[in-house]
Subunit: 416 residues, 2 copies
């Protein structure tokens, strides 16, 4: 007998019909003999409905009361699912976050889980009951209701799986797994059977929408076996594993593209020690995060500094750099919104050389100019003009042989 945590998001429990469908899936797991814990989000749209009510009485309502209000959303869905399971002859109990002692700090709206007391859940599982837990919520030491912020229900599921030492934590979403690239851009993209935790972490921070970075990090901390699969389409999904990659591990697992970045360059600043820090500290002081950074030394004792940042932050960062440019006597500040970041991710890079050269050669062959490069142990990212986004992803997908069937033994070396 395995212990399985299943998490369903807001679109999966959007109405009574959806809840009945989820009940069928949970019933199936339970009838296979697995001990089953279910974590649910609120019905899609419900949180926004409640927040609109809040704004009618207070535009800046206290965070404690917002949490009290929106936490009712999951309480509704868990009760309904427990009822739907009962209708199917399956004994089930629903619990709020507080009732199963999901203890958090008291930072309302983005609380962090401190500990979970799994005694009550284990007692129910021992009695062959399905346990249905409200995602996204907990209580602080005062007994006040807290919420975990974006991706909170995923975190609840992962945290419960860790506390219960579950055999698997299954995150049901509207996609049926993690793909080698976005299938809307690359039709021949392949679903990955398995991906390493580190690759998943890179991919989710690179904008793959499947899982929030925070829940992947949390899973990694407790080595929770995590599987992403679809609510609407049967299939094995993608398993996130903590095993060391085996020999046949593909060189590259996936390619991610991101177009919500912008590039900012300050040119002709005096090339002296500490100048990069001067510029970047000024940006950091405005609470703006920068991503990739390049410094080019010029011939005339000056230097150019270029960095990428969220496109949303460009106007404010640019104003700050304009101010600084005047102060430092820099020659100009150039902002560019038309950039895209393309990343290839794979733990295979650690033991194989030549990934970067394959990447650069393939892009060059298509006439795509690389503006910036950044590398980590298992990731290479490049910045290109944004009109090349789809072409670059398709080119690299082909170059690294990701469209071939995954069981082909030499698929990872099929580079051209």
């Amino acid at each position: 007998m395995s212990l399985i945590v299943q998490k369903f998001g807001g679109t999966s429990v959007a109405n009574a019909e959806c809840i009945n469908a989820v009940a069928d899936m949970v019933a199936k797991t339970h009838r296979q003999g697995d001990a089953t814990v279910v974590v649910l989000s609120a019905m899609s749209g419900e949180t926004n409905r409640l927040l609109a009510l809040a704004r009618e009485v207070n535009e800046q309502a206290p965070a404690r009361e917002i949490d009290m209000l929106v936490s009712t959303g999951e309480q509704v869905t868990i009760a309904l699912l427990a009822m739907a399971l009962d209708e199917r002859g399956i004994s089930a109990r629903s619990y709020t976050g507080g009732q199963v002692n999901i203890l958090t700090d008291n930072i309302h709206g983005k609380a962090r889980i401190l500990e979970i007391d799994s005694a009550r859940i284990n007692k129910d599982l021992g009695a062959k009951r399905v346990v249905v837990v409200a995602g996204f919520q907990g209580i602080d030491r005062e007994g006040d209701i807290t919420t975990l912020g974006r991706g909170g229900s995923d975190i609840t599921a992962v945290a419960l799986a860790a506390a219960l030492k579950a055999d698997e934590c299954r995150i049901y979403t509207d996609v049926d797994g993690v793909y080698t690239a976005d299938p809307r851009i690359v039709p021949e993209a392949q679903r990955l059977e398995i991906i390493t935790f580190e690759e998943m972490l890179e991919l989710s921070s690179l904008g793959a929408k499947v899982l929030q970075t925070r829940s992947v990090e949390f899973a990694g901390k407790y080595r929770v076996p995590l599987r992403v699969l679809s609510t609407f389409k049967e299939g094995p999904g993608t398993l996130i594993s903590y095993e060391e990659p085996v020999m046949e591990q593909p060189l590259i697992s996936g390619i991610a593209g991101q177009t919500d970045d912008a590039k900012l360059t300050i040119r002709g600043i005096p090339d002296k020690p500490g100048i990069a820090h001067t510029v970047l500290a000024a940006i950091a002081d405005t609470q703006i995060n920068v991503d990739m950074i390049i410094q080019n030394v010029g011939a005339d004792g000056t230097t150019d500094l270029t960095f990428t940042l969220s496109r949303h932050d460009l106007p404010q960062a640019r104003a700050e750099l304009d101010r600084l440019a005047a102060e430092l006597g820099a020659s100009e500040v150039i902002g560019d919104e038309h950039v895209a970041k393309i990343s290839v991710v794979g733990v295979g890079m650690r033991s194989h050389s030549g990934v970067a050269s394959t990447m650069f050669k393939s892009l060059a062959a298509e006439g795509i100019n690389i503006q910036m490069i950044s590398t980590s142990e298992i990731k290479i990212s490049v910045v290109v003009e944004d009109k090349y986004l789809e072409l670059a992803i398709r080119t690299l997908h082909k170059a690294f042989g990701l469209g071939d069937t995954m069981c082909s033994e030499d698929s990872t070396t099929d580079q051209e």
Copy 2:
């Protein structure tokens, strides 16, 4: 400084606009320097919306899960009121029943309050915060959410007032107090400034819709000073007091009429000891409550037994009596839906004689035939044909001088 508990029902918090109006009223009490605890129901219609969702997944959902579901209704309104108070510059905290330890038994859907731990509320009141508590709900010893059933929010308010030793518990409703009779029937009916607890108990069990019998009983047990007043119209309302009636106490405080009863007669049963018990036990076994009972002895060694019961229960009770009549050799069973019960209530009856004769004489003068009579220490009820309901109430209202201004010294003796 007084400690005031204020309770607002579903129509008073039906939407954001109503909640803002309630916030204004609470703010006023708070600014007068009174320590303020507010108890709220769910928005009117919300409980039915949630129950309709439940029926979509399970026609006979477990009571535990129904309670989990419907208790979200008050959680929404308390959060919104706390926000609306914050908007008015008043520090407020909302609490679910569980958070302020409203401990109940585990009879889901009609739980009874066992105890309340008022420590947390007192701490907030000490810090000059308004405390907003979800009505209708509590938790059992397992930490499961329970609901108190019909009139549950009133009971929460009364129970909190008792636990906190409040100076007054104010129940805001859509009427502005307790009247000498239903003003829709008797336009000159007077609002009572004060009514004794026992009179209120009789009136509420006689169908005066102002307060549920259960909450009046609860208030009496702890001698909670209770005031009924209107959310929508300023005024002092009616105070329910525990004082012994003073000399000027009116003979009769109010007149109640009820048309949801029916009358059932079994005729010609053998007149032997225990026969009434045989008949009534058979009815009791079907879980039907009977109200007034009359037994008439006939001349031929038989007897007739008549009783009233809820009109809703008539078909089932009649079927049971038909079965019994055959068994006992009774001559016939007669059901009558066209009955009304009229009651006059007043603690003054204890010390004055002649109330019954005034009542019977006035009704006779209008040609209203009395079918059954039942008396208690502070109440006389009669059953009449239902078409006389309004006429009987108006006649008695006039006969006991209830339409006169209440401050008139000899109003209670103005009998004709």
